[in-house]
């Protein structure tokens, strides 16, 4: 039999809120990967460009994950690859292989795609091959195709831009300078369509704005029309670099309206957005009442049932924990490997009001050996918000939410409470659901 892994001390994989004094509370060491696969990867996000084709130029081991991701969501028709082999490191052929491989694939595609996303990887950047030259020549060779330079650079994930940020820069690279429509606005950087039924969505619509979102684009021209918008709203930090790149390149104003669970911040954002877009501020009191009622209902349903929250579900897990605790909901743990600077206010609240609440790591090596029986200890009554919380707690009651799920504002809180209520009353096949890679991606 295997050695008993679960006797090991996991103390260093969690920290009390009261003891957090840095944004990186866990020492970086060996990393574990929990089998909660719902979050999207670059191979999923890039599929959002309608009718585009992806080409990865990487070694076998790096290709394996992306090609099978594409296979699993039925996207192999839009996926190709060039395999880098050992000899290419020393034979001086890396540039030729890259350029000729991509060229060969494009020429033999049964249909000419409007855009091709070409991914380089760590080794090519470390070797310092002439990627600008390669991309220049590819663009000259295929003037009818938007050749987008993309990156699979995990080695640089802690450098200037994270892979998420890089992807969200490349994703909009095909948008071109064009006449701006002052009544058109984009929501950029989400993997899930922005909820136009949110108060922000309704406010913009009532003010006559057309909201464009890559998640809703079905044809390539629709995607290109995003270039006509006067502004780009982004709702989480990873989208910021992309929005700023568009501001610099196309003059589209970057507007940060992050998903928040703090009433004051939501109100500030709505007020700011109303000012920016010359719209009418919605009835904040009424919206707050809606959210209050939803939270009260959830509290009534939950009773003393504990809740655990993870960062893959919501971009501000501490903020959601603070909101829940403020309403008497029993939050038992929060899962995140770092504390984002924008969570400072929520952290302060938690330090004061829930100092013993643990922040738990998810990639620390000890997470592999942490007990996953908390739900059992609670007689099965434990609600998880997010796949990782569901996995680590061992619960069958969880909200299968990925990256905010397009929710925003007070109405986002209402929707989240409704999903939580539903999750309380229905058991889910946790293993089957969280094993699906890139939840919701349909290729």
């Amino acid at each position: 039999m295997l050695i008993n892994l679960h006797k090991t001390d996991t103390e260093n994989a969690d920290v009390r809120m009261a003891d957090i004094d840095t944004t990186q509370p866990f020492r970086a060491g060996l990393e574990y990967s929990a089998p909660a696969r719902g979050t999207w990867t670059i191979a999923h996000t890039s599929m959002l460009i309608p009718h585009s084709h992806q080409i990865f130029v990487c070694p076998e081991g790096c290709l394996r994950g992306v090609v099978l991701s594409a296979a699993e969501y039925g996207g192999l028709d839009r996926f190709s690859m060039v395999t880098v082999k050992e000899g290419d490191f020393v034979n001086g052929r890396m540039e030729r292989l890259f350029e000729d491989g991509v060229t060969d694939i494009i020429r033999r595609l049964p249909q000419r795609p409007p855009a091709v996303l070409v991914y380089s990887c760590c080794i090519q950047h470390f070797m310092g091959i002439d990627l600008p030259g390669i991309f220049r020549r590819l663009r000259e060779r295929f003037p009818d195709i938007d050749i987008l330079e993309c990156f699979m650079l995990p080695t640089m994930r802690k450098s200037k831009y994270t892979p998420d940020e890089l992807m969200r820069i490349s994703l909009y690279d095909a948008l071109k300078q064009q006449e701006k429509d002052p009544k058109s606005v984009n929501v950029v950087g989400n993997d899930f369509a922005f909820d136009t039924g949110s108060e922000l969505g309704e406010m913009l619509t009532e003010a006559g704005f057309r909201i464009r979102d890559i998640c809703r684009c079905r044809e390539y021209p629709e995607y290109l029309e995003m270039g006509s918008s006067a502004a780009n709203i982004y709702t989480w930090k990873a989208a910021e670099a992309g929005a700023l790149a568009l501001e610099k390149r196309l003059g589209q104003k970057a507007v940060s309206l992050p998903v928040s669970f703090d009433y004051e911040e939501i109100e500030e954002e709505l007020t700011e957005a109303a000012g920016s877009f010359h719209a009418r501020v919605p009835d904040i009191k009424a919206l707050e009442s809606e959210a209050d009622a939803a939270l009260a209902r959830l509290k009534a349903v939950l009773g003393d049932t504990p809740v655990e929250i993870d960062y893959t579900a919501v971009s501000r897990p501490l903020g959601l924990a603070a909101l829940f605790i403020s309403r008497g909901i029993r939050v038992k743990a929060v899962y995140a490997d770092a504390v984002l600077p924008e969570e400072e206010k929520a952290l302060k609240y938690l330090k004061e009001n829930a100092p013993d609440l643990p922040l738990r790591a998810t990639i620390n090596f000890r997470c592999r050996i942490a007990p996953r029986d908390e739900a059992q200890e609670e007689q099965g009554k434990l609600l998880a918000i997010g796949q990782k919380a569901a996995y680590f707690s061992g619960t069958k009651h969880f909200v299968n939410l990925i990256q905010n799920g397009g929710l925003w504002g007070f109405r986002g809180i209402v929707s989240l409470c409704r999903m939580a209520e539903e999750a309380c009353s229905a058991e889910a096949d946790t293993k089957a659901i969280i094993s699906v890679k890139g939840w919701g991606c349909c290729g």
């Binding site: 060996l30 076998e60 081991g61 033999r108 080695t155 090596f365």
Partner: protein, 404 residues
């Protein structure tokens, strides 16, 4: 063009094969990689990840550590984990970036062993070979380092009796068993059952269902059966160290099963009853049949097709590494899409392969029999993987082969 896959996928890589081979043995296994290798491996290539704990991690290599050659980071991190988890061994292996950096894994392993006192291995995987190479190196290392002969009075095969009666005296090592080639649909169990039904006991199974302690007793076996090419090197080590002979083959179908038993008997110098030459159905077909897959598996399927179903002109295409001694004239060793394009688009051809290979078929008169291979399509078609170990496989193949 070579090295281009326009429509096909690729096989699991060497470092994933290594992890798969060592998964159940209680070690601390570290892929020296930035990120991504771990999730790729345990999502697509490791069906045991959710339900069976194993300490497999990535080092989290960063740009700064790569540029500065900071091996002290990975060494310190591994020692920290080893101190807390008390693994039976430590294995560290590489991905493409360490290959580019020239990381010396054997030196790292020596340092780890010296500082921790735990047996440690360094493997020069680089993510640019197939899983076979990684699993091969892992099994060979276990055979070299951990196997001891406990029974100092080995049985001497006696040439008395025949068939089951004589084989009862023998125990075997099954080498090369990983989910990448056998999935988790019951093939490893079926091989044990088959051997038991034929009078042989399993001394050790490398490496599904057995512990490191069990594997370390492999030196007491009388015979090794190599069921995938990933097991050959370990079998060679056991032969060299303990004089244990080995045969290759999978009992996939009646004919392959009988052949395996005959080969085993020959290796053990047991007289066997002559093989029955049963009636075979005739299945002459256009350009014949092509089987794509790992060579030991593909040869077993070929044996079944030729000897039981009367198929003619059965050829193999082996895209994984290590094919020496497994191919006949007319067979091909390639992983190039352009080769598949030519070899598979032949009039009237029957192709037995992972469903992803369907994508390269353009001709309408090519018949395709799905045979998912976890090392190729991962978990995607697992529900379609049959239990191919055992004589009962003949029925499955017959039904597929003779149906329209």
């Amino acid at each position: 063009m070579k090295q281009v896959q326009r429509v096909l996928a690729n096989y699991s890589a060497d470092l994933f094969g290594l992890c798969s081979a060592l998964y159940e043995l209680g070690g601390l296994i570290v892929m020296h990689d930035a990120s991504g290798c771990n999730s790729t491996y345990n999502t697509h290539d490791e069906p045991r990840w959710y339900d069976i704990d194993s300490m497999i991690y990535v080092s989290g290599l960063t740009e700064q550590d790569a540029i500065l050659g900071n091996d002290a980071k990975i060494i310190g991190d591994i020692l920290e984990a080893a101190e807390e988890t008390h693994p039976k061994f430590i294995a560290v292996c590489g991905s493409p970036m360490p290959y580019l950096l020239g990381t010396d894994f054997r030196a790292i392993a020596r340092i780890l062993e010296k500082k921790s006192g735990i047996p440690s291995f360094g493997f020069r995987t680089d993510g640019m070979h197939t899983y076979i190479r990684g699993a091969r190196d892992a099994f060979a290392a276990v055979a070299e380092r951990f196997c001891r002969k406990r029974n100092e009075n080995p049985r001497t095969p006696e040439a008395s009796g025949s068939g089951n009666e004589s084989r009862k005296k023998f125990s075997v090592n099954l080498i090369g068993v990983t989910p990448l080639d056998f999935s988790i649909v019951g093939n490893a169990e079926a091989m044990r059952t088959f051997l038991a039904e034929n009078g042989m006991s399993v001394q050790s199974c490398w490496a599904m269902g057995d512990t490191l302690e069990t594997l370390s007793s492999a030196g007491d076996a009388d015979l090794s059966i190599v069921v995938s090419t990933s097991g050959i090197a370990a079998a060679e080590v056991l032969k060299k160290r303990f004089g244990i002979p080995y045969v290759t083959g999978i009992p996939a179908g009646k004919a392959a099963a009988e052949k395996l038993l005959r080969d085993a008997a020959a290796a053990l110098r047991i007289p066997e009853e002559p093989a029955e030459t049963g009636k075979t159905e005739k299945a002459g077909n256009g350009s014949g049949t092509v089987i794509i897959g790992e060579p030991v598996f593909a040869n077993a399927v070929r044996t079944c097709l030729e000897q039981e179903l009367g198929a003619e002109n059965v050829r193999l295409i082996c895209p994984t590494e290590i094919t020496d001694g497994f191919l006949r004239p007319g067979d091909t060793a390639t992983d190039e899409e352009e080769d598949f394009e030519k070899l598979l688009n032949q009039p009237g051809l029957t192709v037995i392969a992972d469903p992803i290979y369907r994508r390269i078929i353009e001709r309408k008169d090519v018949r395709f029999i799905d045979f998912p291979h976890e090392a190729y399509s991962g978990r995607l078609y697992r529900s379609g993987i049959p239990v191919f170990a055992g004589p009962g496989f003949s029925g499955w193949l017959r039904e597929k082969f003779f149906s329209s």
